[in-house]
């Protein structure tokens, strides 16, 4: 197996190193309390605050028929460049039980707010370049004819196929009476000319458990919890449009925004047809902190 050529002890340290770097970064910067949405796949129209960096760690446990269950994980570094532009880098890996742990690639994402002010529906343009291999199982989006059986082969086979994809989404989001509703149509193109354009969607709705803040700092106040549901799936491609051979998921989600600046997310996704994984159990931990832009500017002689 090709995957076994890489020392497993090194690969197993990958998560630890990422978490260590994250911890060091946390120590360097001032904190900023976040009010994060509970979505894991769907995006709303809110961008990162300018100059703030959010470091996020996510994990997806998935059941696999015809193969071994897996735990895919990724770290996101999300930076608010301006109030209308957020840029983000992902590093992803996965462990397939009874198989191996491997690094599966990286993604570079940008989101641009298209309108200056709030409207009933707010559009944000999302553009992402993916440099991954076929062993990538984070299921951050489902598109085209992605089905459960695509993930069944061993890592040694899957990792041989490299994908360079351009992914675009139009993030449409509306917030009214405390409810947020977000709809994300997705278009993906593998950069090989022979590959078709693929389509997908993600839809989410969420609401804080309380709309009014309590006067005191508290961990378990209802306003710290945001609950919702998201649904995502593929819509075929240009060579074979339609819902046949596509997978779809429905996932209740919840986020807990702690006053200590941590956000925890939990999502239990259920496959809605026979092409879908039966269960996708996701969780995430993130922390937002400010001052990175200034810190880097000072390093390069910018104004303090």
């Amino acid at each position: 197996m090709v995957a076994r050529k890489v020392p497993q002890s090194i690969l197993k340290k990958l998560r630890g190193i990422i978490l260590l770097i994250s911890s060091l970064l946390f120590c360097r910067a001032s904190l900023l309390s976040a009010q994060e949405s509970p979505y894991i796949v769907t995006y709303d129209h809110y961008l990162e605050e300018p100059g703030s960096l959010e470091v996020e760690y996510f994990s997806t446990f998935g059941t696999q028929r015809g193969g071994n269950d897996f735990d895919a994980f990724w770290t996101e570094f999300e930076y608010g460049v301006t109030a209308w532009w957020t840029t983000e880098v992902y590093l992803a890996g996965q462990t397939t039980f009874n198989d191996s742990m491997i690094f599966t690639g990286s993604r570079f994402e940008n989101r641009f707010r298209l309108l200056q002010r709030e409207h009933f529906v707010n559009p944000v343009l999302y553009i992402e370049f993916e440099n991954t291999n076929a062993a990538d199982k984070i299921l951050k989006e489902v598109e085209g004819h992605d089905v459960e059986s695509d993930y069944a082969p061993p890592n040694g086979v899957l990792r041989r196929e490299h994908d360079h994809e351009l992914e675009m989404k139009l993030l449409l989001s509306s917030t009214f009476k405390g409810w947020n509703v977000a709809v994300n149509p997705i278009v993906t193109k593998n950069l090989l000319p022979s590959e078709p354009w693929e389509f997908g969607y993600a839809i989410g709705a969420s609401r804080p458990l309380a709309l009014k803040a309590s006067p005191n700092r508290c961990n378990f106040c209802r306003e710290n919890f945001i609950a919702g549901v998201e649904m995502y799936g593929g819509l075929g491609d240009t060579q074979s449009a339609g819902l046949h051979d596509t997978s779809h998921y429905l996932a209740p989600v919840v986020a807990w925004n702690l006053p200590s600046d941590w956000t925890m997310r939990l999502s239990t996704g259920f496959g809605l047809n026979d092409n879908s994984h039966r269960l996708l159990l996701r969780w995430g931990l993130s922390r937002e902190f400010s001052g990175l832009g200034e810190m880097v500017a000072r390093l390069f002689g910018g104004r303090p």
């Binding site: 001032s30 900023l32 309390s33 009010q35 949405s37 709303d44 809110y46 961008l47 605050e49 300018p50 100059g51 930076y79 608010g80 460049v81 301006t82 109030a83 209308w84 532009w85 840029t87 880098v89 570079f108 940008n110 707010r113 200056q116 002010r117 709030e118 370049f129 440099n131 490299h162 360079h164 917030t175 009476k177 405390g178 947020n180 950069l191 090989l192 804080p208 709309l211 009014k212 803040a213 309590s214 006067p215 005191n216 700092r217 306003e223 006053p259 400010s290 832009g293 200034e294 880097v296 500017a297 910018g302 104004r303």
Partner: protein, 167 residues
Amino acid sequence: MKLIFARRRAQRGLRNVGVVVLVVGVGVGLSLAQTGDAPARKNKKAEYATLAEAPEKARERENPFAGDPQAVAAGGKLFEQHCAECHGAKAGGTRHGVSLLREEVQQAKPGTLFWILTNGVVRRGMPVWSKLPEPERWQIVTFLQSLNPRSVNSISENSEPAKPSLH
């Protein structure tokens, strides 16, 4: 065989393009981050002129928590969590956000402040805050209007004011 080599070359090329795009993007982003908002801070009048852009209908909205001490406390907590980073712990302003103690803000109608919070001033670096539920935005407005700074017009943007009550 030739096809495989051509495909590998194409993949290597794409990978290089990806790296270049990443590096350029991060570089441009960080340089924008450090220069984008700085010139705006020099023009104070322009900063506060946004207040006048609030539509009449928005300005006339009443604050449902006006005079509510609980709302002042809750608004102070929210201010500390979401606003103090840019506007200063005591709302006196920093390089990234204007002073909220100046008369332009203190004399603005609650509806105007609520409108600014909801829409942000995106071109000047203030994000939209509609992700906070409407009652929480009103709580912040209540808190801001509870501040009673002394000699607000003599306060420089980079200095902290004389102890307004935060809670």
